[in-house]
């Protein structure tokens, strides 16, 4: 009897392994994804509070004011949601692609998980106590409670552990598969973890070597421009890390779901390499109207920022070409008739598809606001908030939602039911309408001059500010729709995780075209890409940082202005 049971277990394990499913790894990813969606729920409600306040509909209590809510909203959604989802998704990928996680890698990711959670709790406590209303950008010389920064440092360390784990996993696979290409989705994962690893260095230097000695009082003053520049070297790269994560699903997963093949493997890898090399320097377009950087250097930075647009334009072509090719193969006709052949009722397609569509205005907005003069019009206005709700809130997060409808069943050994699929389709449309209202209103009111990060105000009933109110109301309407979307999405995720019928779900990875040309091996030379990346970073950063340090004004003492 016992032997029979053992045999059965052994057989099931083997079957799972053939499907690339490893229960211990699935549990890890499940934990990461669960935290990500709890963060979405909490962060989403905080967002609703802000939207209602901003429209003048809700006054927040003094013990939980607008700026506390805003700091928490940013931290929870920008750091927790994205980091936990990205790691959960890519660790599931590495496990599936590369024959299961190595025990030490899995352990590293678990330690990283708890280090990040502890870090997060430490960062949130001072926010709740109104000791850290400094936003997720925490620009010095505003100084929060030291515990806030210690929490941030722990989050950095936790993410680093996952980066290193991924490097060990990929290196080990390459050692055992000499001359082979790393599978495409794991190649995306490698790019993302390389970027995370290096981007975090900038913010780690800022927090560990500049801010902590200063808030502890070991040094009297801080160089505000250096701190700000280091922050954006990290901050903007983080944006593109989310984007690269979403793009991985667009290139690899979505073609499989619509029953098609992948676009050129080589061009896909070239896009990844280009995004890794050019990303970090994009941070400077957050500083176009800063003092202390001369116009020639700023012009170079505009070029470096716009250059990131090029791989995205390559992506735009590739994805629509895949859609058209697949639909025509299924009998789609005419210039636009092939659209009818796409699986509109499948949330695993619909959500990432709308996410891609959203990236057209989002990317275009990004390009225009990176140029000097247009940046000056919109810098620090609600336009920027609209921009990153369109990019992060729509292009990236909707892709994450779309991924969740197969990833969560996959790691939970359950299936996506038609009911949950239908719920997902409804959720997708609610989210789409909500984001269009909210982001549209933000973009427009920003053009009129309404500032970001400002609680409800009419500036003494000034006519200009009163003219912004109708748009801020539309913003609140969008925000209200979005919270409905958040609730439906979180319900769907936890239903699929714990209550959906048991069964095996496929990890959808599209194949290459049958007649595809072989990808040359130079794409695997990560050492070279990292060296080129560091050279590009040096080109962008050495001049301004030297200027800030050599010609530094006397520094600033810490301030608590809230």
């Amino acid at each position: 009897m016992k032997m029979e049971a053992d045999l059965k277990v052994g057989f099931k394990d083997k079957a799972n392994k053939m499907l690339g499913y490893y229960p211990a790894d699935a549990k890890l990813s499940k934990s990461y994804i669960a935290v990500a969606f709890i963060a979405l729920l909490v962060g989403g409600f905080l967002g609703l509070l802000q939207g209602l306040n901003r429209a003048g509909l809700l006054e927040l209590p003094t013990w939980f004011n607008y700026y506390q809510v805003l700091t928490a909203h940013g931290l929870i959604l920008i750091l927790v949601l994205t980091a936990f989802f990205t790691i959960g998704y890519f660790y599931a990928t590495l496990s599936h692609n590369l024959g299961g996680l190595l025990p030490k890698v899995r352990k590293l990711a678990w330690v990283g998980f708890f280090v990040k959670l502890v870090g997060f709790v430490l960062a949130v406590i001072p926010i709740l106590m109104n000791e850290a209303s400094v936003m997720y950008t925490f620009y010095p010389p505003m100084a929060a409670h030291p515990i806030f920064y210690i929490g941030l440092a722990l989050i950095v360390v936790g993410v680093w552990m996952c980066c290193i784990g991924a490097f060990i996993q990929v290196a080990n696979w390459r050692k055992n598969h000499k001359g082979q290409h790393v599978p495409i989705l794991s190649y995306f994962a490698t790019g993302v973890f390389v970027l995370l690893f290096f981007a975090l260095m900038f913010v780690a230097v800022e927090v560990l070597f500049m801010i902590l000695p200063w808030v502890f009082g070991w040094v009297d003053t801080i160089n505000v421009m250096v701190a700000r520049t280091l922050f954006w070297a990290f901050g903007h790269t983080l944006v593109n890390i989310w984007y690269l994560t979403a793009v991985s699903a667009w290139y690899v997963v979505v073609p499989k779901i619509i029953g098609g093949k992948r676009w050129s493997d080589l061009l896909t890898r070239v896009v990844i390499i280009a995004l890794v090399i050019m990303n970090i320097t994009g941070g400077f377009h957050h500083q176009i109207i800063d003092p202390g950087i001369n116009e020639l250097v700023k012009f170079m930075h505009v070029f470096m920022s716009l250059a990131i647009g090029f791989p995205s334009l390559m992506t735009a072509f590739a994805l629509f070409a895949v859609f058209e090719r697949t639909s025509r193969r299924k009998g789609g006709k005419g210039l636009i008739g092939w659209w009818k052949k796409m699986p509109w009722g499948d949330v695993r397609f619909l959500a990432p598809f709308i996410a891609m569509l959203a990236f057209i205005p989002a990317g275009a907005g990004g390009i225009v606001q990176s140029t000097n003069q247009l940046n000056q019009v919109v810098h620090n206005t609600m336009w920027v908030v609209g921009h990153f709700h369109l990019t992060l809130g729509m292009s990236v997060v909707m892709t994450f939602f779309g991924i969740s409808y197969w990833l969560v069943p996959y790691i939970s050994n359950r299936v996506l039911t038609p009911q949950i699929n239908r719920l997902g389709v409804i959720q997708t449309w609610i989210w789409t309408v909500g984001m269009i209202c909210m982001s549209g209103a933000m973009h427009y009111v920003g053009l009129l001059g309404s500032p970001r990060r400002t609680s409800y105000t009419t500036y003494g009933d000034h006519a200009t500010a009163l003219g912004w109110d109708p748009y801020l109301l539309l913003l609140a309407v969008g925000g209200t729709l979005l919270i409905i979307g958040v609730i439906l999405q979180v319900y769907a995720v936890f239903n699929m995780m714990f209550f959906a019928p048991k069964g095996e779900t496929e990890f959808p990875i599209a194949e290459e075209e049958d007649n595809a040309t072989k990808t040359p091996y130079w794409t695997e030379r990560w050492g070279l890409w990292i060296v080129i990346m560091l050279i590009v970073v040096a080109m962008a950063y050495v001049i301004p940082l030297t200027e800030f340090i050599v010609n530094a004004p006397p520094g600033s003492p810490p301030f608590k202005t809230w």
Partner: protein, 155 residues
Amino acid sequence: MKMHLDEKIWLTISFGIIMGFMLITGYQAFALEMGPPSNMETIDPQKVDQTAPFDNPGVKEIGDNEYEVVMTLQAFGFTPNNIEIPAGAKVTFILTSKDVVHGFEVAGTNINAMVMPGHIQKITQTFDKAGNYLVICNEYCGAGHQVMSTTITVK
């Protein structure tokens, strides 16, 4: 690497668009002198009141309908406050912060600059249209950030 003709055309257009943006941005910045505010001067942020020109903030006429406004920003206000200038005046704002990072934005114009402690920022604008302009801080600066505003009256 084989690439479709359509893709080559698309990528050429993409490259052209990006270069177009660069050319226009460069032309505006360097030929039309519409570059972003990028002043390089520094100051001791703890001694702003003792350092010229900020020891005497205010509106100064420096030429024929040309003005200089020396202004300090601190949580949560601007010094000087509620200034007046004649229509058609070309005004250069000379700005610095006495505490945290602030933003200087005049709604309805292209005036928008970061004002960092330790750095002197400059931005110039010609006010052709008369009216009451709203000046706000657009960088979160603390509990009273939403009240940090003033006006410029152009007559």
